[in-house]
């Protein structure tokens, strides 16, 4: 093994040596620089692997005297890892910066090399004054590297940085001086034994040391200088500061944390959390890419600072949590900064340029998801463990703030991702990519992916995760160049095979929802054959969503469940954003999902208190805060079922999605929320706050959702939006049914779930087929299509009969059971609303069939053809099932009833053939079908007979009075179809909820804007912030 000291001798020696070369040869100097850093990295790596496999830590004694008499360096596990990261970043960053460094001459290479060297020493040294010296080296190095760009902004940033770090270093020096005076040594280990924190002045000395280190980590709000550097410097340097330098300083904080008492640690935690929330809050209002990355970096560092402060509570998991979050930050932030250097545009909206090179977009997405903490990236694991441990140790406020901060971070990161995927890019210059700039980005993406999978394999809790679906997704990426029909077939076969393998293990609810997710998935995928070309990137994303959905079914532990939940969210997000005008809708979908996921995470965390297992059934034996756990999880799941208040993402997302994606995200995806609720309710049972039954609130929410969703549906002009809102309403029925916690309620809810899957797939495909043909979603631009698209007409007709819940089709059965359940339960007020909602449903059903298919055919639609075969095929397959279930209702209801019997033995239906009997009446689906069919035949015959002599009027056989209305659509009968009702009831659907979220969002933005005004760009203000920060923290501690 090579002594760790040679990390320093090699790099520093090379730096001095390059000076000799001077102008001789820039290429040789650059090569030497990279070789030196690579050699240093190799030394760190060899120590890291050696120590991991049991070797002892390496100690370096300088000057031939043992510590504390001379300066010593330590190479332990942590040091080895961090120096490895630093040298890795140094190497990749060096490659990235090659051109700039060569352009500005040999001096810059020297500075770069010395900077990397100093970070290594900072990590390894055990002497606080030596730490001070090399921190100064690093600061000066950064100040020198900042001006690699010649801009005036860079110079300003460098100057501010110098003044700020100068002041901080001065405070550090005072701390070091008095630490030396009181402890009689400068060696960290000896200072620790000297226990100088037992008296006030001694602890002030340590305080000054620690606060300076914290200030170097750029805590909110004393960090304007740091953010300015991120903005002003070359992004390649930003990457170094954010990844390498910050990692080193964090390690220093960790190293020195042994010196301080627990009360200090709490302050460190508080500062970290404040920084995390504060800088993410300010990031929201930011439109400059580098500055935004600065805020995000500082936020992440804040989180890690807090983790260092929380070390005593994290126990054995501390390493895993800290390292996984650090590594995600490290790779993702470095990669993002480097990408920013490639894009060269600072406005976030200009990142649409990335689309010119799709692989850059993929890299960008990887970094964003790694930062937010999605699987399979390491931060996912880290965040999970962190939240679990925080809940365990009753740090609820910290837990909440971490989730809030993460959410704020999600807002701007996903908005940014959305810009890059969807923003207009018409006027943007072409993107040029040099090999030396792209290789580091690719490697960091691979780094974050690889480390995520590595962490997954070494961690006990993640060991049971199934990666086979993910491998399948990877395969689909590989064959992405193939045409649609190949990939579609592969996908359907893949899902089919997977269903076949897991089918024997499915039972009960898992069977029902497994079939909805997988069989339903196959069915909707069939529609995909109508597409031509390659449909780039579509299939991996679809499979990602289905992998998540099936993961929910298969999950045995809360961790697996959450893992699957996040996969599903990620996949569905990308599916939704593929839609036409879906940038904002995808963002709001993601934000609601993210918020929901965090609530679920918090809920699982609280549920886990006092339990050793992570199995899902710990929900059945929650030790403390059971109602709170229930509420958190329920709201979390309700973001997916789009219950009232949480629904605003849905209409846009579903309406703008592609033809065959709409049924996936509407008919299938929403059921994930229902499945979650069922799981929750099954395990946790009834919950009361005091004497108030939470389920009663759920019933109200379900009822209001139903009314509101249906009314909104009735007032839409856009056919797909109408369907989207009708989903909201229908999911309201399901929630309403579930809230009864009775046999009939659940029977209704579960059967309605199945029914909703069927008719919503049917209708979205049918309407999607029409939209595909007539190129508009506005209903008043359609009309008379019955003759052109008769097959589609039949589908829609059947679909709305099911929706409306009128006999004879299966929707009625569900409603009938629901009404029986109401009578049994006696919650009449919300039930009245549900009845009312049922009436409203007629309105939109009527509108859908009437304005689209009946009336006059539009001139431009004369040549319209029937929908493509591949869209009709799944519709008619579903229709067959609907007819079967309608004619033989017990084929659906009886198995569900049998499944519910052990859970709710009371109040089950009695079956006599196709006759169902409840306590309040009976219903025979088959007979009703015959009767209704009979009536229909009679009425139809009567009408035909009466009208047989009517004269047909040609469609355009009318005269105009030469008036041209300013808004042509206002003359169409289908426009504002329900104007009278809207007048009467419109106030009910006034966009209160949308307004609420809008103003919430505006409020957050306004706060963000207010807060960031403290960074007025003046170096004196920044110096003042630093000093004020010290004084305030001092006052808090002492």
């Amino acid at each position: 093994m090579i002594s760790p000291i040679h990390i320093i001798t090699l790099t520093l020696g090379t730096a001095f040596f390059i000076g000799l070369l001077k102008k001789l040869n820039l290429n040789i100097s650059a090569l030497l620089m990279l070789v030196a850093i690579a050699a240093a990295g190799t030394i760190s790596a060899s120590w890291f692997t050696a120590i991991l496999s049991g070797a002892a830590n390496a100690e370096v004694f300088t000057a031939g005297f043992n510590p504390p008499y001379s300066i010593n360096l330590l190479m332990g596990k942590g040091e080895a890892l961090i120096t490895l990261l630093i040298n890795l970043a140094g190497f990749l960053g060096g490659v990235y910066l090659l051109k700039s460094l060569k352009e500005r001459g040999i001096y810059t290479m020297i500075i770069y090399l010395v900077f990397i060297m100093s970070l290594n020493v900072i990590v390894m040294t055990r002497d606080i004054f030596n730490l001070f010296v090399f921190m100064e080296v690093a600061s000066i190095g950064i100040a020198g590297l900042v001006i690699l760009d010649k801009s005036s902004k860079a110079t300003q940033a460098g100057f501010k940085y110098l003044i700020a770090t100068g002041v901080i270093a001065g405070i550090l020096l005072i701390g070091i001086a008095f630490t030396y005076y009181f402890a009689g040594t400068l060696n960290i280990d000896v200072i620790q034994q000297a226990s100088i924190i037992n008296f006030k002045a001694g602890s002030i000395a340590v305080f000054l040391v620690i606060i300076s280190i914290i200030l170097e980590l750029k805590p909110f709000p004393a960090n304007g200088w740091g953010i300015d550097v991120y903005e002003g410097a070359n992004p390649g340097i930003g990457a170094m500061i954010s990844a390498a330098s910050a990692s080193a300083m964090l390690f220093v904080l960790y190293k020195l944390a042994v010196l301080v008492p627990e009360s200090f640690l709490q302050i460190i935690t508080a500062i970290g959390i404040l920084t995390f929330v504060g800088s993410n809050l300010m990031g929201i209002k930011q439109s400059n890419a580098n500055r935004l990355l600065g805020y995000s970096s500082i936020g992440q560092i804040g989180l890690l600072t807090a983790i260092v402060g929380l070390k005593p509570f994290l126990g054995a998991q501390f390493e895993l949590i800290a390292v996984s979050i650090l590594i995600s930050h490290f790779f993702a932030k470095a990669g993002l900064f480097w990408l920013s250097g490639i894009v060269k545009k600072q406005n976030l909206k200009d990142w649409a340029m990335l689309r010119q090179k799709p692989y850059l977009l993929v890299l960008f997405g990887i970094f964003i998801f790694a930062l937010i903490g999605f699987p399979p990236f390491p931060s996912f694991l880290g965040k999970w463990e962190l939240i679990m441990k925080l809940a365990h140790s009753h740090h609820f406020y910290i837990l909440a703030f971490i989730l809030i901060g993460s959410f704020l971070e999600g807002i701007y990161l996903f908005r940014w991702l959305g810009f890059s995927i969807k923003m207009e890019d018409a006027n943007l210059p072409p993107l040029t990519v040099h090999w030396n700039k792209i290789i580091p980005v690719v490697l960091s993406a691979l780094g974050v992916l690889g480390s995520g999978i590595y962490f997954g394999t070494i961690t006990e809790i993640a060991a049971s995760l199934k990666y086979i679906p993910l491998l399948f997704i990877a395969l689909l990426y590989v064959i992405d160049f193939l045409p649609v029909y190949v990939k579609n077939t592969v996908s359907i076969a893949g899902i089919g095979y997977y269903l076949y393998t897991i089918y024997p293990d499915l039972e009960g609810f898992k069977l029902i929802f497994g079939l909805i997710f997988l069989a339903g998935g196959m069915l909707t995928l069939v529609a995909g054959y109508f597409k031509t070309g390659t449909r780039k990137g579509f299939y991996p994303l679809v499979m990602l969503m289905f992998a998540g959905l099936v993961g929910l079914i298969e999950a045995h532990t809360t961790f697996e469940f959450f893992f699957a939940w996040e996969l599903m969210t990620a996949g569905s997000y990308f599916l939704i954003i593929r839609g036409k005008k879906s940038m904002t809708h995808a963002l709001s979908y993601m934000l609601f999902s993210l918020a929901g996921a965090y609530l679920i995470l918090a809920g699982f965390g609280l549920a886990h208190i006092g339990q050793s297992s992570y199995a899902l059934d710990i929900l059945a034996s929650v030790q403390s805060f059971a109602p709170l756990v229930f509420i958190l999880l329920a709201i979390g799941f309700m973001t997916k079922t789009a219950s009232v208040g949480l629904h605003i993402w849905l209409p846009g997302a579903h309406a703008e999605a592609e033809t065959d994606v709409s049924p996936m995200v509407s008919a299938i995806l929403l059921k994930a929320g229902v499945f979650g609720l069922i799981l929750l309710m099954l395990n946790m049972g009834s919950q009361f706050i005091g004497s108030f039954n939470i389920y009663y609130a759920l019933a109200w929410i379900g009822a209001i959702t139903a009314v509101m969703g249906n009314m909104m549906a009735a007032f839409q002009e856009d056919a797909k939006r109408l369907l989207a809102y009708s989903s909201v309403g229908f999911l309201g029925y399901i929630l309403f049914g579930l809230s009864f916690m009775s046999h009939l309620g659940w029977l209704a809810a579960v059967s309605l779930s199945v029914v909703h899957f069927m008719f919503k797939t049917l209708l979205f495909l049918a309407i999607g087929g029409i939209v595909y043909r007539v190129k508009t979603k506005e209903m008043y631009k359609m009309g008379g299509l019955i003759k052109k698209m008769p097959f589609t007409f039949i589908s829609v007709l059947m679909g709305i009969i099911v929706i409306a819940g009128v006999p004879p089709l299966t929707g009625f059965g569900g409603k009938w059971i629901l009404y029986n359940a109401v009578l049994e339960k006696g919650w009449f007020f919300p039930s009245a609303l549900v009845f009312f909602a049922g009436i409203v449903a007629f309105l939109y059903c009527f509108r859908l069939i009437h304005t689209v298919f009946l009336g006059q055919l539009k001139d431009e639609h004369r040549e319209v053809k029937e929908a493509p075969f591949w869209l009709l095929l799944p519709q008619y397959m579903i229709l067959m099932v609907i007819m079967l279930f309608s004619a033989l209702p017990n084929s659906l209801l009886k198995p569900i009833g049998a499944m519910l019997a052990p859970i709710f033995p009371e109040g089950a239906l009695e079956w006599q053939g196709q006759l169902a009997k409840s306590g309040f009446g009976y219903w025979n689906g088959q007979v009703i079908m015959y009767i209704v069919g009979g009536i229909f035949v009679v009425v139809f015959a009567w009408l035909w007979y009466m009208n047989r002599n009517a004269q047909k009027v040609k469609q355009f056989n009318i005269g105009y009075s030469a008036e041209r209305p300013s808004l042509p659509e206002t003359t169409h009968f289908a426009y504002n179809f329900f104007a009278p009702y809207k007048k009467a009831l419109g106030f009910l659907v006034s966009p209160l909820i949308t307004n609420f979220w809008d103003s919430a969002s505006e409020g957050v933005h306004a706060i963000s804007d207010k807060v960031r005004r403290i960074y007025n760009g003046n170096v004196q203000t920044y110096a003042f912030h630093i000093l004020a920060f010290i004084v305030v923290v001092y006052l808090i501690i002492f």
Partner: protein, 118 residues
Amino acid sequence: MEYISMITGFLLVLLGLWGVLTQKNIIKIIIGFSIFDTGLHIVLVSIAYLRGGTAPVIDKAVKVTEAIEKVVDPVPHALVLTAIVIGLGVTALMLVYALKLYQNKKTLEVQSFNDLKW
């Protein structure tokens, strides 16, 4: 004596910071910073002082055997030496930055250099 010099040092530290915080001219800010630095050095040297001690140099007045009782603590002196040189480096760098800033905007007023903010 060491108290007096330490208090002087701290006062210089505060005065220097006051200069950094209040002066509008960049050169003045740097002057403030160098006063701050000098103050720090004085504090450090004061810490080393041993009552009645002599300089930590072995010569005719201090024999090798007596050093342990007679000389003042050499460690802070070594630290101050380092700190002084670092201070020079930082100050020189700040001045060169000031020069560049001046070349950019033809002014030394600190308020004119807040292009980066928010």
